[in-house]
């Protein structure tokens, strides 16, 4: 890991430690054991005879398991290895740590082995924002267990720590007084168990069943075996593909309501939870590889679909949630994430995913099962999202304290601007939202005809889509610059910055054929295309900054959808150029694409500069290589068949994707690189 931190995770439980395996978290630092958005351990420091240990190596065995090789003493020129210490840590319901000490001497040693413990029970939001705690802490020794607890009224969280061999336990840790014979070893197993208790000591609803390590290993192998196999002349792509599959497995999250099925959480460390937008887009990217993610995403988000008007949560009937959280601030309604609905794109994208899922899998039963949810989502677009009554999706938060200002994927405060850098007022109608609405209506119409047998609805949706496309191309097209405006402001003026959102418009199909070439030339032109990928905001715009979160960086996920959009309009060479750039960049991150990297010109830095606090691994970045593979191979379901129409960069050489699952059973796709790409 580039920051020297070691991360392992299972679902939304994860441990972040230093290279020794120690945790010494400060209030604002994301190290510790986290579960359900709460830190359950902020101090976990191992000493031998009062001395800290020195790391020799760290083996990432699995995403949920790591082994640390350590020796006593720090900072000397040579390591005096009379002892070796091995910590093998596995995440489950908390974590387990197998601690082993080897004595390399010809004589016995007497050791005092100590693990110092402590916990601040911080809510992840507090770690991000450095807030004060309102409850009470306690530590107590209960038999052979040390229990660290935090209580605020009825809210209780605790961590129980125990060992498999005798230990002296005090309120701040465990001490082992041991003797190890010559060339012998000693080991113990430390168990750290997280507890979330409700009224009357009943285990509450957010409990997650303890997953055994054996099952987790078998599960990961099964996951990889089930996914299509990639054969390719270009080794880095194989590595990136494997990395993506493993990371996607790691980022799976089983909400307690999903009955053991999993959907993609958004990303580590901050976003190990259900997100409407991220879960949907990642499921779309992964459809040709792991279609079951989409099914769970659709069901779980459908279960939580809004039913009423709640200003605090920005909830409307039919609206798909933005983000779910389980921590203290959400519990006390100091944050609205139980769940929070402030997303303007998740709802139309929900319908898009349902249709795309059916096109790949032929699973009409799910389309029938989710008919009411899809209808409510379509209804939300016209009934609740058109805040200005102009036939567009607009957003403006009703929760003005803790709601989100920008409810599109570019959700930072300065992401939506005019060319000269001014920020528009609210409500705002960003362009890609209209594209998604258009696509949702057409896809909804297809499902209505095919599965729900409602031709009236289908006809109406098609009519509305055609009308939306006509108006959109009139109102958003910046005639003198030949691209679509980023948004409309509350007065209906064009927010005229040039941004990557144009690529999403191609993906949605809302772009008129006559305008598509101009859009494609902007996307691949020097102001937007950095050589690695398309920048979120074009160089030369008022707020352009190559390391600005949504105003100049390159997002791999964004580029994967842009490439899909280019393909949709027939620009397959351009799609290959973007795929080549992003996949080249992936090599610099060992196949694990970060959330975003700098928008600098490729020849200027020669390597992609990672955005400072970007999440990694992040679900939709993990999904980007998958969607790029689909795009390059030109995979498109057509009735009961899979059409393959490759357009690959030359560097990739020969490529095979074997056993692609879908309504056709399993099918293989082959391609050979023929597209010239400038890679300097």
């Amino acid at each position: 890991m580039s920051d020297g931190l070691v991360r392992i995770l299972d679902g939304n439980t994860f441990v972040v430690s230093d290279a020794r395996g120690d945790i010494e978290a400060s209030p604002t630092d994301p190290t510790g054991l986290f579960s359900f958005d709460t830190r359950f351990l902020s101090r976990w420091v191992l000493t031998v005879n009062g001395e800290r240990l020195n790391p020799l190596s760290v083996d990432d065995l699995q995403y949920f398991e790591t082994r640390f090789f350590l020796v006593p003493g720090t900072g000397t020129v040579y390591v005096d290895a009379k002892l070796s210490v091995i910590r093998q840590r596995t995440v489950g319901n908390g974590f387990q740590e197998e601690l082993t000490i080897l004595n390399h001497l010809d004589e016995p040693v007497e050791l005092s082995v100590r693990v110092d413990t402590g916990c601040d029970f911080a809510d992840l939001f507090e770690v991000k924002d450095a807030l004060e705690k309102k409850g009470k802490y306690s530590e107590r020794v209960e038999g052979d267990k040390l229990v660290l607890a935090y209580d605020r009224e009825t809210f209780g969280r605790s961590t129980a720590i125990s060992a498999s061999t005798p230990a002296q336990i005090d309120k701040h840790g465990l001490t082992f007084k041991i003797r190890i014979g010559p060339h012998d070893k000693w080991s113990t197993r430390l168990d750290v168990v997280t507890e979330r208790l409700g009224v009357g000591q009943a285990r509450d609803a957010i409990d997650d069943p303890n997953r055994s390590q054996v099952r987790m290993r078998a599960n990961l192998q099964h996951w990889i075996d089930e996914a299509p196999r990639l054969e390719c002349d270009w080794e880095p792509l194989k590595a990136t593909y494997r990395r993506s599959l493993v990371d996607l497995a790691a980022l799976r999250f089983s909400p307690p309501i999903a009955g053991g099925h999993s959907l993609p959480a958004a990303g580590l460390p901050w976003f190990m939870t259900m997100f409407g937008r991220d879960s949907i887009l990642t499921s779309l990217q992964a459809l040709p590889f792991t279609p079951e993610l989409a099914a769970t995403t659709l069901r779980a988000l459908g279960d939580w679909q809004g039913v009423g008007l709640d200003d605090f949560r920005d909830e409307d009937p039919g609206r798909i949630l933005h983000e779910m959280r389980y921590g203290e601030l959400t519990a006390f309604e100091e944050r609205p994430h139980s769940p929070y609905y402030g997303s303007a794109d998740a709802t139309p994208l929900y319908v898009v995913l349902l249709d795309e899922y059916e096109r790949w899998t032929g699973d009409r039963a799910l389309v029938r099962e989710l008919e009411a949810e899809a209808r409510a989502a379509l209804n939300w677009i016209d009934e609740y999202a058109d805040l200005q009554g102009t036939g567009y999706i607009w957003y403006k938060r009703r929760n003005e304290q803790t709601g989100l200002e920008n409810q599109c994927w570019k959700d930072s405060w300065d992401s939506i601007s005019f060319r000269d850098g001014r920020l528009p007022g609210f409500p705002r109608a960003t362009c890609e939202l209209q594209g998604y609405a258009y696509d949702a209506k057409l896809r909804g119409a297809r499902l209505a005809r095919l599965v729900w047998e409602d031709t009236t609805l289908a006809g109406r949706l098609e009519q509305e889509a055609a009308d939306l496309k006509r108006r959109f191309n009139r109102d958003f097209w910046v005639e003198d610059r030949q691209y679509y405006a980023l948004a409309l402001d509350p007065d209906g003026n064009q927010v005229d910055a040039l941004a990557s959102n144009n690529g999403h418009l191609l993906w949605s199909g809302i772009v008129e054929k006559s305008k598509a070439n101009a859009v494609a030339r902007h996307l691949l032109g020097p102001r937007l295309f950095s050589g690695w990928g398309v920048r979120t905001l074009a160089e030369g715009q008022g707020r352009y900054n190559p390391i600005g979160y949504h105003v100049g960086t390159v997002w791999p996920f964004d580029n994967s959808f842009i490439a899909w959009g280019l393909r949709r309009y027939g620009f397959k060479e351009d799609a290959a150029v973007i795929a080549a750039g992003i996949l080249d960049a992936a090599q610099f991150f060992d196949g694990r694409l970060p959330e975003a990297f700098g928008g600098y010109e490729r020849p200027q830095t020669m390597y992609p500069v990672q955005y400072p606090t970007a999440c990694s691994p992040q679900a939709w970045s993990t999904g980007a290589p998958l969607l790029l593979l689909r795009t390059m191979l030109g995979l498109e379901p057509y009735e009961e068949h899979l059409v393959v129409e490759p357009a690959l960069p030359i560097a990739i050489g020969h490529l095979e994707l074997l056993d692609i699952p879908g309504r056709w059973g399993r099918i293989d796709a082959f391609g050979r690189g023929r597209v010239e790409v400038d890679r300097s």
């Binding site: 605020r152 009224e153 009825t154 809210f155 209780g156 208790l197 409700g198 009224v199 009357g200 009943a202 285990r203 509450d204 609803a205 957010i206 409990d207 307690p256 309501i257 999903a258 009955g259 279960d303 939580w304 039913v307 009423g308 008007l309 709640d310 200003d311 605090f312 949560r313 909830e315 009937p317 389980y326 921590g327 203290e328 959400t330 519990a331 006390f332 309604e333 139980s338 769940p339 099962e369 008919e371 009411a372 209808r375 409510a376 209804n379 409602d454």
Partner: protein, 125 residues
């Protein structure tokens, strides 16, 4: 000031008979509402959206337990059920999936249960 928001909520729920928001749900839930020494129990069975409410101590797939004061607030739309569960004000045992279905039944802030019922009818095609 209302007299008994919890009782009103269950009376109103019983009068709905069919609730489209629960059309996919079959199961039972018991609400144990604790007022001092006394526990009031409501037993709700759902059969594909057909709702029956009775008083009593039947076995259930999911049991929610809360103080009368807390449950009155949930029933009146003043306290979000999920937040209440997260902070331990409402305890739930049994099938957690039922929780997400049941939370749809409670009014949102400023809403009356009556409006909720009227609004939800629109979801039934």
């Amino acid at each position: 000031m209302r007299t008994d928001a919890t009782a009103e909520f269950f009376d109103e729920l019983a009068s709905r008979r069919h609730e489209p928001l629960l059309r996919k749900v079959t199961g039972s839930a018991r609400f144990d509402v604790v007022a001092g020494e006394r526990t009031e129990r409501w037993w709700v069975t759902i059969d594909k959206g057909e709702i029956r409410v009775s008083r009593g101590n039947g076995a259930a797939d999911s049991v929610l337990r809360a103080s009368k004061a807390s449950f009155d607030r949930v029933a009146a739309g003043e306290l979000n059920l999920m937040a209440a569960v997260l902070r331990g004000e409402v305890a739930i045992e049994g099938d957690p999936r039922l929780l997400v279905r049941l939370q749809r039944l409670f009014p949102r802030p400023g809403e009356q249960a009556q409006q909720r019922a009227a609004g939800s009818a629109g979801r039934e095609e």
